[in-house]
């Protein structure tokens, strides 16, 4: 987009209208009402309003962008806010005047109440417009701030909203530590109120913003100081850092308590799968939509081998630790067997066929034909928790260590494979399969290795899932899991290992924490993916090569060979 010299009215109005439509959608699908029950700041800011504010702030931020002067940027954001307010006004008025509940269930008086701050139509509407216009101007102000401050302020706001959102969980967790009781009470308020207290919110915002500013201005200095240190000092510093990290990781379940540890475990299983799929899709560029098949195969194998239910035709009743390597082996084999038919397929064809494989495995698990062996629709029950030197891994806090070990192993293996000849071959294959082959790379072996490694990680994840739940059913392995894992590596950044962790936290951890809103999970997922593809197609933490791919037009100008 070229910088214009004129004030861009049209863009400001357009963005306001787009934000307005988003606002209408949020209101009419019922998100606003449902989210209004949660407070971010007790008594002053609900989660529903936070969503509306975010919508208008983002829109006016973009309308303030590329305007000729700072003043006009503010003006543009003002216009956007005003248009948004006007659209929301129309909605409120329409809902208040006409009875739309026949078709639009959520167009209810409760919605009007929320949008007019419970002040009724004429007064409330004015309040509505004024409030969102101010929010719009805030968006514009954020835009004209210097980048350093803008970053710090955005981070401060994000952390504040996040803490408010997580208040209940944080408070429950912190209640394990009576030493900080008074601080907690001050920050979150006492009794039944939800969200941060007003003072708490301001303190959180200020602390985060200022410490970020401080860190940003000193980071380079600190870094250069570390750089100046002698090699062995640097090394010991690094070891110290890793040691601390390890300590935190080991101590985490104690810190987090039962519920949060369970959330971490669920996230961990998704990350483990993500690391596997990242090899297949991210490194090797093979779009696999039936990835859940290996998750199922891992879970079912451990189920058949260790279940003590006595309902299956063969009772192996093995010890988990004996069954584990067998499970991994079975998954690797499955990866190869399902990989062979698709060796010559690319792109869409590969995606469709693997999608089919995923469904075949699930339907096989459901079938009556295999029922005597793997339980059919009743699944496999009574999978005993493993015993690790006398410690029974049957609680989230103990299973946590098994999951962390699995993730670390997968992390280690995928990092080392990436930085080797094999990783290079995968990358080359992703770039241009024909040429990679002409360079002497054996496509069959290279592809099958990618499928097998991916299957092994996914299978490991499934195995842990089986002992975690103790029972497995075919419907635990629906297509949606494949889609979820794929989304998480797309959001994190294809081929990026840290990206898998970020994607896992965002798309598996966060929804788990916000269970009460799970109705809207897929809607938010979809919106997030669309926005992601528009704004940041390379993901949150992109891998270098992929980043290049998405910014082809912004390449460094080189002297043209005339």
């Amino acid at each position: 987009m070229s910088t214009q010299n004129r004030f861009d009215w049209l863009k400001a109005v357009q963005l306001g209208a787009i934000a307005g439509i988003t606002g209408i959608l949020i209101s009419l699908v019922g998100m606003l009402q449902q989210f209004d029950s949660r407070d971010i700041i007790a008594g002053s800011l609900s989660m529903g309003w936070t969503m509306l504010f975010l919508t208008v702030i983002v829109a006016s931020y973009f309308s303030a962008a590329h305007q000729p002067s700072k003043l006009l940027s503010i003006a543009a954001s003002f216009v956007t806010g005003l248009v948004f307010g006007f659209v929301m006004c129309l909605l409120t008025y329409a809902v208040d005047t006409f009875d739309l509940r026949q078709t639009l269930v959520n167009a209810s008086p409760a919605l009007v109440k929320i949008l007019t701050f419970e002040d009724g139509v004429p007064t409330g509407l004015v309040e509505l417009v004024v409030t969102v216009t101010i929010a719009g101007v805030v968006g514009g102000v954020i835009y004209i701030l210097p980048q350093r401050i803008r970053k710090a302020v955005s981070l401060g706001l994000t952390v504040m909203v996040f803490l408010g959102l997580m208040q209940q969980i944080i408070q429950v967790t912190l209640s394990n530590f009576p030493q900080v009781n008074s601080a907690t009470a001050w920050m979150f308020g006492r009794g039944t109120q939800k969200g941060l207290s007003f003072n708490g919110a301001i303190v959180v915002f200020l602390v985060v913003t200022l410490s970020n500013l401080f860190w940003e201005s000193n980071a380079t200095k600190v870094n250069s100081q570390i750089q100046k240190m002698p090699e062995n000092r640097q090394r010991s510093l690094r070891i110290l850092g890793y040691g601390l990290l390890l300590l935190v990781v080991l101590y985490l379940p104690v810190l987090l308590g039962l519920y949060l540890t369970e959330v971490v475990n669920v996230t961990g299983l998704f990350i483990l799968m993500g690391l596997g799929l990242n090899i297949v899709v991210g490194f090797a560029g093979l779009l696999d939509l039936g990835y859940v098949a290996f998750y199922a195969i891992g879970a079912y194998t451990v189920g058949v081998l260790t279940s003590v239910s006595g309902q299956l035709s063969t009772a192996f009743e093995w010890n988990f630790w004996w069954a584990l390597p067998v499970c991994i082996f079975v998954c690797v084999m499955a990866g190869i067997v399902l990989g062979i038919p698709v060796l010559n397929m690319r792109g869409d064809y590969l995606a469709i066929v693997t999608l089919g494989f995923g469904e075949i495995i699930r339907i096989l698990a459901l079938s009556d034909f295999l029922k005597p062996h793997i339980g059919g629709s009743q699944g496999i029950v009574s999978i005993p928790p493993p015993d690790f030197f006398g410690v029974l891994l049957n609680k989230p806090q103990t299973l946590y260590y098994l999951i962390v070990a699995g993730c670390l192993l997968a992390l280690f293996v995928s990092q080392r494979l990436r930085d080797s000849r094999l990783g290079r071959s995968w990358k080359a294959m992703r770039e241009d399969e024909d040429v990679a082959q002409a360079m002497g790379i054996n496509l069959v072996a290279t592809k099958l290795l990618a499928f097998a490694t991916g299957a092994a990680f996914s299978g490991l994840s499934g195995t842990i899932l089986a002992i975690k739940l103790g029972t497995i059913y075919p419907h635990s392995f629906a297509l949606l899991i494949s889609i979820n894992v794929l989304s998480l590596i797309i959001v994190g950044g294809m081929g990026s290992i840290p990206g898998v962790f970020i994607g896992g936290l965002l798309l598996a951890g966060l929804p788990e924490l916000l269970r009460e809103f799970s109705e809207y999970r897929l809607l938010i997922y979809g919106a997030l993916l669309v926005v992601m593809m528009q704004v940041r197609p390379e993901g949150f933490w992109p891998e270098e090569t992929h980043k290049r791919e998405f910014h082809e037009n912004e390449q460094v100008p080189t002297q043209e060979a005339a």
Partner: protein, 269 residues
């Protein structure tokens, strides 16, 4: 001189279209040979047959007395044939260095277990690949550009990088598909020296497809002319230039007779 590559009665058909028709061709060891012909004459198809992208319907292709038709492209490369492409096909998002290191792959033995455990073999392999890549970068005059993304290199440099990548597999026979396409006369001249240098200093046999007649006539010892998939002439630059069938294929029948007249006129004059 012994021939490195020999094609015997090679025929490649696509449905009803015969792209290469009973072609016989010998490439002498340590020579620079060219395949020329109008567009659609089957030159690239022939290259694809040699490098394993296509399997010819009839005939044999031999590299140093071993049959290579029907082998996969990676197997052909392992045997010692390497190629470049008419429209540059680098791994455009990888760095120049990584591109060449991929080319060195046939000489690496690292398996996945070596990579995970970082065995001695892994370290040796990585070191060898890296050193070879640096050496080749210097050789093609791209020293210092190793960390640049392939697609950000200037056009001429991309051509040379592609050749460096092809050389990384240490081939005995290098196939160059229009190495000077899109180059100006200056660059074409440089490329001509470069190709000759390749042969002289590395002892690699070179077979190229080219449209630039100055280049072809300047460096080829042996030229094969294809038209509609058939060989219509073969010989040194002088013979080819005066061959009426070649002139006819390139310029049409009328021009051929006229051209004959001029050539004979020149001779007598």
């Amino acid at each position: 001189m012994a021939s490195v590559l020999s094609a015997i009665n090679v025929t490649k058909q696509f449905g009803g279209l015969t792209a290469v028709n009973t072609l016989n061709l010998e490439v002498a060891e340590n020579s620079i040979s060219s395949v020329i012909g109008p567009n659609g004459a089957g030159k690239t198809t022939f290259f694809n047959c040699v490098t394993g992208f296509y399997t010819p319907e009839h005939g044999e292709i031999k590299y140093k007395d071993n049959r290579i038709d029907g082998l996969r492209p990676d197997q052909v490369t392992q045997m010692g044939i390497s190629r470049t492409y008419q429209n540059i096909r680098l791994f455009s998002n990888l760095t120049a260095l990584e591109n060449i290191m991929v080319g060195y792959d046939p000489h690496l033995k690292t398996g996945w277990l070596d990579a995970v455990l970082r065995t001695k073999r892994y370290h040796d392999d990585e070191k060898a690949a890296h050193e070879e890549a640096l050496k080749l970068l210097r050789f093609v005059g791209l020293a210092g550009s190793g960390d640049l993304i392939a697609r950000n290199l200037p056009y001429g440099a991309q051509r040379r990088l592609e050749i460096a990548r092809a050389l990384a597999s240490k081939p005995g026979l290098l196939l160059l598909d229009e190495p000077t396409a899109g180059m100006n006369p200056n660059e074409t001249g440089e490329m001509m020296h470069f190709i000759r240098d390749l042969r002289d200093s590395l002892g690699i046999t070179i077979l190229l497809i080219e449209h630039d007649m100055r280049l072809v006539m300047g460096i080829s010892e042996q030229i094969t002319v294809l038209d509609f998939g058939e060989k219509i002439a073969e010989g040194g630059p002088k013979e080819i230039q005066s061959n009426p069938r070649v002139i006819e294929a390139y310029l049409g029948r009328g021009a051929a007779t006229e051209g004959m007249a001029t050539t004979s006129g020149n001779k007598s004059g």
